[in-house]
């Protein structure tokens, strides 16, 4: 019996339960009932199924505290990072501001995104008017969108620019929503997107100048033991890496050691 053998709905519930046990160290039927709106009977069934699945380190019921307590060597069925599981830990009060810092969410026009998605699916080129931060609005151009990407802050469009003869990253928000979005088939095959199909393996180390003790904290914080932290992405996204990881800021605690490239 595995987590994947279950139906989607119950699997979702057990994953939630798993996270409660992992990060809170405790869980009740009430947690399931409040979160999913199921009955007490069903919640009890879910607990039994969970206990059946978690044979390596099952939680135990503590009648004194009236909750299930995770085993001290508890192993998550579906491992999660603390950031993903934050909502498990944060009490949600309506009205008052969240206990999470608001993010700089970029807006996007639904219709524009749908047109681009459509062009990607059909493999057509599409006509757009694009405003770049440096050169201002253009008069309209044909691009061949291939996929959406994300740098964690905003969503980008990866597309071949016929004007430039290369693949570039575009910000959908800078596409004029009143562009024609006219589509046309691509006459000759596009070149390979080399940067996309190149793996960039970035090796990071604690910033030069940190004391040994500080370096140790940094290692623990980012979860690596040896000399380097290995992070893997695509060369096409590497441009965004330093900013996303804050390597270019004054208080940076990591720096690049080296970068390896290999075809995917």
């Amino acid at each position: 019996m595995k987590l994947d053998d279950l139906k989607h709905a119950q699997r979702e519930r057990l994953i939630f339960l798993d996270r409660c046990l992992t990060w809170r160290g405790m869980a009740n039927r009430k947690d399931l009932i409040d979160h999913f709106g199921i009955s007490t009977a069903q919640a009890a069934l879910d607990f039994r199924v969970y206990l059946g699945l978690a044979h390596s380190s099952p939680p135990t019921y503590d009648p004194v505290r009236k909750t299930y307590i995770a085993a001290s060597e508890h192993e998550a069925l579906a491992p999660s990072g603390l950031t993903e599981a934050f909502d498990i830990l944060a009490g949600v009060d309506e009205d008052t501001p969240s206990s999470a810092l608001p993010r700089p969410e970029r807006k996007a026009d639904q219709r524009t995104i749908a047109f681009l998605h459509q062009a990607i699916r059909s493999g057509n080129a599409v006509h757009v008017r694009y405003t770049s931060m440096s050169s201002g609005a253009d008069e309209g151009q044909w691009i061949a969108p291939t996929r959406f990407t994300s740098d964690g802050e905003s969503v980008h469009l990866r597309a071949h620019s016929f004007k430039r003869g290369e693949y570039r990253n575009y910000l959908p928000i800078r596409i004029d929503p009143d562009s024609s979005f006219e589509e046309k088939p691509i006459d000759k095959p596009l070149p390979e997107d080399v940067d996309w199909n190149t793996r960039a393996i970035i090796w990071l180390r604690p910033k030069t100048g940190l004391s040994d003790e500080q370096a140790k904290v940094v290692r623990r914080e980012f979860g690596f033991e040896g000399e380097w932290l290995r992070v893997e992405t695509r060369k096409a996204l590497e441009f965004f890496f330093d900013r996303r990881w804050g390597l270019d800021t004054v208080g940076a605690r990591l720096e690049r050691a080296k970068t390896d490239y290999e075809p995917i």
Copy 2:
């Protein structure tokens, strides 16, 4: 009939469907079947329920393209940002690197988090050994944790420090996992957490020095029309704001105009 009247499982499915229609502009039964593992019959039922709910701008079936197409004035039942909905747009190939830039995920010790959560719940003080980046490891101290917070990058612990006589933000990863985590009741009531209970309203504007046209792009990108963008958070989290929004970097396109404070 409203989205909230539905059971959790079906509501999840309809929200997914809603996002497909919103951002892809199209949806099939197959999308539901692949994502939730339901039958074709159930997927067809979900579509009918969705059509019943989306009375203001229902999608239409296009027999030629063999998909449902969102109305051009489509209104999302459950509005979402593009960043949240990114997984709807990104094709997921296993094996190859993701099309999203990896995030600098901070690690955290489950057991430590569970102890802290326990202390918050019970309202007790807890004994921990904390290593700060500046002053190094301490000899152990009592703190009174009140809640978890998040700056979007890592999760923090908000706690009253008896040593300092004030509320501070701690990084759980810097708490020694071998701390005693001994608990004791708090003898006299804690002072109010004034910074937590103060609303910080931050007014941002396009960075001075940008051209009018550039400022216009910035406004559209961050979704504000007038002079300022209003962002609301808690004073206790304000310290993280500039870094999270990249206001302290060279390429920043927003700057603070003013900040208002008011009690919550």
